[in-house]
Symmetry: C2
């Protein structure tokens, strides 16, 4: 099997460490150590930690399986539920959370390039979710009185807050609340 | 007017800088500079930055006016709306967010004392909110089918996510979504 390129190793380590430690606590040396490459090699591939984080956000977004929200083989309400179940089930040990939310809390006030990247990522997510909600309304599965765009933003926000509460709790109670209120009280 | 004690100056600067920069980016020297005291004086008053943050969370919580949620002079649904309007209106420039949420994103995975303090703060908030929701149900103002505890947790989570989205947007759209969906689709 071909070894990943040094740039790929650094990027993978960046994604992991930004999630584990946060943007500020993850130093360039932490990242190159995790990647198993010399510290000096970092700047051959990325201009700065901020430049790495921009690409890391994009890479992280690709792993969210957002396009599953547009998969018409699954009924829309069930599709939305499976999407959030996927996001829940890939989190280990009630920690780490979501890179979009973590960067919103820690970084976007201080970096315009990272703010714009997070903003675009959240927008793509809520746009795909709004389409699925509108589809569910057309199919009679979701309350027709809801505004799909507003509801989609509200759900992504409730999800991000759920991850914060889950980390403060170190147990899955916040997930149970999210699924109960979203699917039994808000959408249906 | 009596000058605040050195400990109070450090605590006030800590609250401000943890909100402005985050826990990791706010160094002890930043905090003593902001407080206008010598760096060396920090450790006369606090054992560590973590110890300061524990007290800062408590101080921040006292400014949330959570007890307004129990003020029976105002009808419960209106009281809940005013509570979130207060939290919205005291945020300057679509930045900073909430210390509970920021610490959940950045710190609670790495500090058990701070995790417990954030956990207790969020619990106090949702308990007071749940009581107001139950009161609103008894008064016929809020949908009786909602579980007050679950709904309260969901609302605090949606609020924390709203602050993250607002910071990524740098505009008030996320607040409009929060108020519209919470008060027109979920609670009533």
């Amino acid at each position: 099997m071909a070894r990943r390129s040094m740039k790929e190793e650094i990027l993978g380590a960046g994604v992991d460490l930004f999630l584990e430690k946060g943007f500020n606590a993850a130093g360039v040396k932490d990242i190159t150590d995790r990647a198993g490459v010399p510290k000096g090699s970092f700047y051959n591939h990325f201009e700065s930690k901020e430049a790495l984080a921009t690409v890391a956000l994009e890479r992280y977004g690709e792993t969210r399986r957002l396009t599953d929200l547009a998969n018409r083989e699954i009924p829309p309400l069930e599709r939305i539920r499976r999407h959030f179940e996927f996001l829940r089930d890939e989190l280990p040990d009630f920690a780490r959370g979501c890179m979009f939310g973590n960067f919103s809390a820690e970084v976007v006030d201080h970096s315009e390039p990272l703010r714009l990247r997070v903003h675009d990522s959240l927008n793509l997510w809520s746009t795909l979710l709004a389409d699925a909600i509108a589809e569910g309304q057309a199919a009679g599965e979701i309350r027709g009185s809801l505004d799909p765009q507003q509801t989609a933003h509200y759900l992504t926000n409730a999800w991000e807050g759920t991850l914060l509460q889950m980390r403060a709790d170190k147990n899955p109670d916040a997930f149970d609340v999210f699924f109960a209120v979203t699917f039994d009280a808000l959408l249906t």
